[in-house]
């Protein structure tokens, strides 16, 4: 496992060990606040549409990155969509073998121009194909906290 290898034979005088003590607290932002509140409270996926470019961004944004128009028109898109790509992940962040592989997919929700990356569940890799329909499985409403993890995974329709 190349990822796990650490340089072990250094003497104390030749190396210095340390950490970068970085911890971050991110705000969801103006658009993110609305997207995640809607997900938390209504279990719905909301986006913004650019009238100039016709793109529907999900999650919604306050601006169109292509034409820089401010986006104020919010709409709700479906909580199901099409699998655009997928992969099966066998190793964790530190390079160690996962007990259970994770399936990750790109889902284009019906009504959205953009894709979401999330986990796929209730499905095995050998049955996956691009173009399949998937739908979101959310945490129960009382457990939702307004985060991307309020979506547990997407499962085949």
């Amino acid at each position: 496992m190349a990822l796990k290898e650490r340089v072990e034979r250094l003497t104390q005088t030749k190396a210095w060990y340390g950490e970068l003590p970085v911890e971050s607290l991110y705000t969801a932002g103006i658009a993110g606040e609305r997207f995640f509140r809607t997900l938390k409270d209504n279990g719905e996926f909301s986006g913004t549409k650019c009238k100039c470019c016709g793109i529907v961004y999900v999650p919604g944004r306050i601006f169109c990155e292509r034409c820089f128009a401010p986006l104020e028109e919010w709409l709700t898109v479906a909580s199901y969509g099409t699998l655009e790509s997928w992969t099966v992940v066998y190793v964790g962040l530190d390079g160690s073998r996962l007990a259970e592989p994770i399936i990750v997919g790109l889902i284009r929700l019906d009504g959205a121009s953009t894709v979401l990356v999330h986990r796929l569940g209730e499905v095995t890799p050998d049955t996956l194909s691009i173009g399949m329909k998937f739908t979101a499985v959310l945490k129960p409403k009382t457990k939702r906290e307004g985060a991307i993890t309020d979506i547990l995974y997407f499962k085949p329709v």
Binding site: L20, V22, E23, L25, G29, I30, E65, F68
Partner: protein, 386 residues
């Protein structure tokens, strides 16, 4: 020296301790405002320069890539530059280069910082700017190097803290008239001298805050500039230089790298007598003594003389050489790169007579903005004029 380059539009967000907006959203607001201010749309931008300080503040690695949509970089040539605190002014130099060279006709320059993301305090991020083997084990903090530099500066020239504190009084007071200001205040020298000692001689009110915010400027060549505005602010000279990263090997009493950067910019601008040919200055002021240190490096006065100019009121908005009429980092706030670029924005407004309540009393045709960074060794200077 290449083609003429003008600043034709500026935009900025409020500087706040914690913004609800994401970094992308802050960048967008500033960039959009800058484009709107000169009637250009994104399609008319040839390239984008982004300035942003260490990734660890926002907590986003490859911050340039993350911020790109908000900076207006979709589908465009896009360059991120970073020289620590000097980034804000250095980003303008980067943008200037692309337009002066003829590569682009227009260039959008965007600077963003969201320091509030760092927990519990952005100060800790600075630990890792010190050498990991010979300095970090001593658990240094950023205040050390400022305090060490300030002490050396004061001792070399026999300066008094109460004279230096006047810079904080002036800048925080100037910022009362800045609609984006974070810590504008009417403070007195006495309050500053009584404020908490952080790292002597640095006290709480000698220091600028940590901030969130974004600033953007639009650069254009002469043809575009004349079309979109009747008051282009020309970039007359640019300069940058750095000293050795072995910061304990040089005398901290004088920023030689700032002088070198200034000389480069003055030469390009045809400025031979900066004390008379520079009418307004926005030197970098993360700490009150830094404004003075940098005025000296910019050759706006002799070594050790800047405090006296402040005492004499020369650097007030109604003085002969207004310095930091914006309110500076000490008053408006210090979202690192965005704060440096705010200084350029201030010169834009001042030279065009659009600074409102902050408008300086004297007639000004030429100004200088300067920012400083890395481990006390980078100077970036831009001379602008009308």
């Amino acid at each position: 020296m290449g083609r003429r380059v003008a600043i034709v539009g500026v935009g900025m967000t409020k500087f706040v301790r914690r913004a609800q907006e994401t970094g992308q959203e802050l960048a967008y607001h500033a960039a959009k405002m800058a484009l709107d201010s000169c009637g250009l749309h994104l399609g008319q931008v040839d390239g984008v320069v982004l300035g942003s300080a260490p990734d660890s503040f926002d907590g986003v690695h490859m911050k340039g890539e993350y911020l790109s949509p908000g900076a207006g970089a979709w589908g465009k040539p896009y360059m991120r530059c970073f020289v620590g605190g000097a980034t804000g002014v250095f980003s303008v130099i980067n943008g200037w280069y692309y337009v002066a060279s003829g590569l682009f006709d227009t260039c959008l320059v965007v600077c963003e910082e969201k320091m509030s993301s760092f927990q519990p305090h952005a100060q800790a991020a600075f630990l890792t700017i010190f050498d990991h083997t010979t300095e970090r084990p001593l658990k240094p903090n950023l205040l050390w190097i400022f305090a060490l530099e300030m002490n050396r500066y004061m001792s070399t020239y026999g300066l008094r803290k109460e004279d230096i504190a006047l810079v904080a009084v002036k800048n925080k007071n100037n910022a009362l008239d800045h609609p984006c200001a974070q810590i504008a205040d009417k403070v007195t020298v006495e309050e500053i001298l009584k404020s908490e000692v952080l790292a002597w001689p640095v006290q709480r009110l000698d220091v600028s805050p940590v901030s969130d915010g974004a600033t953007a400027v639009v650069l254009a060549n002469e043809t575009v500039a004349r079309r979109v505005t009747d008051k282009p602010v020309w970039i007359e000279g640019v300069g940058w230089a750095l000293d050795t990263a072995y910061w304990t090997n040089r005398d901290l009493c004088y920023p030689r790298y700032v002088e070198e950067a200034a000389r480069m910019a003055y030469k390009m601008a045809g400025v031979t007598d900066p004390r008379h040919q520079i009418h307004v200055a926005e030197p970098y002021d993360p700490f009150d003594y830094k404004e003075l240190h940098h005025m000296e490096g910019l050759l706006l006065c002799g070594k050790g003389e800047a405090p006296q100019l402040t005492v004499d009121g020369v650097t007030r908005r109604d003085g002969e050489l207004p310095v930091c009429p914006s309110g500076g980092l000490l008053g408006v706030g210090n979202p690192i790169s965005a704060a440096g670029l705010m200084k350029v924005a201030e010169l834009f407004w001042q030279l065009r007579g659009e600074a409102g309540k902050r408008q300086i009393a004297r007639k000004a045709k030429r100004g200088i903005a300067q920012a400083w960074g890395d481990l006390m060794q980078v100077g970036a200077v831009v001379v602008v004029g009308i």
